[in-house]
Symmetry: D2
Subunit: 328 residues, 4 copies
């Protein structure tokens, strides 16, 4: 560890995700462990532009590991999109003698961070915190595992009603561009069909498949729908279409919505957040900049921001095949 | 116990509620305990019309106490609304030597049961099973306590995001005619405002109150909205109205929907269901007919069907006042 | 409301219980609502003796309603048992211009409060906060409902293993003098036998009953044991005794322990705590002193401390009969 | 796929683990998908010896994915340890025209399976199902992720009390030979110290470290102890030792016990079980025998039984370092 950095700031940006607090806690304590000062920045890049800072010590983050959301808060920042805003941000960092920055968030966060790094050559390391799991360079993003459990627990409840009334439920889950949540939670929830943006099933094949599974003896069904799926985008229309063409089921819709973002993080997300928080501080101390720390096959790895934001991991086609087999 | 009834049937009807399985289990085992036979009827009154029966013994209901939904299933029955349908139902009961019937459900269920009792003088006892808590003659209905916990846990998650982003969330909960779920879950979830059908707050007073609470230092807010509330009925319109007139918050909407009906029952609902299941069998054995068993101040009581279905309990105005005080 | 009290202090004492934070929050906000000042006292009576005070405003208690434990902390206080300690306590209250005190806790707490009231004629109101539900003058104590759910969820998990391995589990739950938790959670968890301090079943009748239920076709069993039960006091010895005399089961023991005290409160406990917190402040404002506020059949009532601490509510023998019937 | 196998049997053996039912379900449905018959064997190898078989179809395993335990049950089998027992087992398989066997369990299960394969050249594939995560050849075993969440949720509750009373809690978790559960759940629960079999900390260094962390401002502490740890083996003695030598804390012990084995599986465990269940059937169809299917870096891999049972994965020393840093 050959760096002279003495003071590191940390912020959370983009949609909140369970485990962000655990990551902040790990950043703060890794700073203390390595004899560095740590500063928290409120409301993401907007707080950076406004200089909304707070000193953080080991005890500032006690009883934080199990809390959903982010106590440093998050916000969209129009100001940070402007050169003038970023100039202010840089000035606030200098005034406060902050020499490096850790940003916790998703691809939008890393794009902003990367731009700032290029303009001001300011050392930045990113931590992937988003329930969407759509970042290259890490097997998992912080919050994803918790969101999967939240979705599966919600669908377990819906299934009670589906079973009791012999109904078909369409359940919309998050995922504008990526079907990871739908695919994994769909398998976990025992869904009959899973609609994801990466694959265009078509309404007719969906109805056909549901008809077939009804014939095979299924008396109720769950269809998990990614919000970004082609035919699932207007989920209420899809429900009507199915009811008209299938005729054997009453169809109901549930949009899970924001409950997917919150809640106490799962053990996996807490451990992941702890590792990545420590890893981000150590990456800075090893003079790694403009990179994201991630986990690959249980090891910490770093990936340049521009690779991380290149677009999401491809869907796991093997898993999609498993989904087909086990919903027989 | 001076009755000669030897064989009792049980069915669940109306929307499913957590604890219905626990109630069925208690009915079955109370029958066994008192040396009576028990028959399950599938799909509520429809199964009664169709003669869809199954014999139930003590072991048939093992591992049922903790399951949501109803393993006897529930359904709407157009057939039972017709005299011909009810005739068929009566004939199936006679053929199967069933001498009494226990129905688990809400006010619609009790109306049907009451009509059947009047026409055929067939001994029937009801058990209040509905998450809505809108039955007179019982302090609590089976499933209500579980639904409250489900709502509160969901809003705890939403609050993580509300806090992290300084947002206002409108959360729609069940309750077409009764505000009990909204009022209790709203207090439990620490909501700033609670909109219920029993009280017409008006959009302007809502906005005013939210503005005031923002001024008092609140940076995020939860508004719990009964689906039957006057201004909350179109919750998406209400959200737009607030965003326009309040201007200080981003407003988001979550409709909790069907997750409120499912899930493993709470301890309270399991105990209540067990008591009422036993109580229903014992009421029959004491020649009480055309009544519902309920719980009042921890004691089992019976109420004639026509009183039970007279309309829901009045909202607890003291509690509404508590809600105002603690959301200050 | 004819009192001149301007400043009220609040403390939590005895074992912590889920919902204590919700009660503190309600006390604070009811003070604000009624234009009174509120002071928090840390670590119960010990903090009172030491003058460990903190001013509390409406925002001090935000995001508290869903947290287990008590942020004011609790402690045993040897000092408060001495006249000298209580004198110090009184002096600190005077110095700080505190005119009334709200204590949240169990019977030990109320005994201390009552003594202090008698010595100093200092206005005090109590709120029943304990998982044991062993206070007269209230249908439920704060934390009891949550503890029941915690126990039932834990036993649901244990039952998975009991079923998979055809085993008998003895599960020890809290309750030194009162069997309420064991009885209600035992029913809720579908226990075959429930051992409570109020009833001495005897080892032989227990083994006999388990043998009978094995014969009736049960392949696994759960026995819920109150820690204060006669034969269950040494639960490991009891397990050996059963294994020796029953011979048909492997017997396992789980002592649930402290998980029963913590966790996010249930909706019921949050609402109860909110009502009682508001009720305590309003009782003080109505010049009611040396009393506990409780809930009876959904209404707030006050009970003199000396009645409240007279010993626990009697066990509900009807419920015990239900337990016998449904475990058939 | 070049095999002629037409009928495959499946059993669960050893300690039950959440997700075993999901694995059975996937095996059954993969059989149906590939046009094969599937037979369930009750009570592990004992049911194999006794010929306790049941035919399983796609609908036999409905609503199984979310249930803890194993509906095929598990048992220890002394008979299968004898050549005579295994002969009977083989005969039952032949009589029933079963041509291949899938066993779900831990290292003991695989040892038995391997022996049987060697003696009878009977095609067997294993699936790692155990909460201990102590099998080589897979990144995760089925049930491990759920157990971690169960432990972390339990300790979250205990922490409420630890915080409220400024206490030190020793919490014993499963892990006779391997510290994986303690290490990961300890990090996830924010434990101050983690005692694992792989590392002998020594009582004095433990006390020293706790004293230091008390000095740094911590007012309560959680120590997570693996049941197989050197100094933690007798956890009650350890508690006394700490109380004597540290003097600043009241020390309490909680032994989590069997709640760690049960419960609805996490989404991760459900997906893993689904993949491995399908993978096991497909391995058999590809003529892979005497191997375990596992997951490595998100891909299905096979490992010979003799390697899988060689002993557990090494502890992740990097993670232990992270634990030290974040508990500062």
């Amino acid at each position: 560890m050959q760096t002279n950095i003495q003071k590191i700031a940390v912020l959370t940006s983009g949609g909140d995700a369970p485990g962000m607090n655990a990551a902040i806690r790990a950043v703060v304590r890794a700073c203390v462990f390595h004899g560095k000062e740590c500063t928290g920045i409120y409301r993401g890049f907007q707080g950076l532009v406004e200089g909304d800072f707070i000193p953080l010590g080991a005890r500032s983050v006690k009883n934080m590991i199990n809390r959903g959301g982010t106590f440093l808060k998050s916000a969209r920042s129009e100001d940070f999109r402007t050169p003038a805003g970023r100039k202010k941000a840089f000035d606030h960092l200098k005034e406060n003698e902050i020499e490096a920055l850790i940003v916790i968030g998703g691809d939008g966060t890393f794009k902003g961070a990367s731009l700032f790094y290029e303009e001001y050559d300011f050392p930045i390391v990113g931590i992937p915190g988003t329930i969407d799991n759509d970042i290259r360079g890490t097997d998992f993003t912080i919050g994803y595992d918790t969101a999967l459990n939240t979705v599966v627990e919600a669908i377990d409840k819906i299934r009670d009603t589906a079973n009791s009334h012999n109904r078909l439920f369409l359940v919309e889950v998050m995922g504008r561009d990526a079907g990871d949540i739908a695919l994994n939670a769909g398998i976990g929830a025992g869904a009959e069909e899973i609609l994801i943006p990466e694959e265009d099933l078509g309404k007719d094949r969906l109805v056909e498949s549901l008809a077939k599974s009804r014939k095979s003896g299924k008396t109720s069904s769950i269809v998990v729908v990614s919000e970004g799926d082609q035919i699932g985008k207007n989920i209420f229309e899809l429900a009507e279409y199915i009811e008209e063409h299938l005729k054997q089921y009453e169809v109901r819709v549930t949009v899970l919505g924001h409950i997917q973002r919150g809640g106490a993080p799962s053990c996996y997300d807490r451990v992941l957040a702890s590792r990545l928080g420590v890893g981000a501080v150590e990456a800075l101390l090893e003079n790694k900049h403009n990179v994201m720390v991630g986990i690959k096959h249980k090891k910490i790895v770093v990936t340049p921001f521009n690779e991380a934001i290149e677009g999401s991991n491809e869907i796991d086609w093997d898993l999609l095949k498993v989904a087909d087999i086990i919903s027989i």
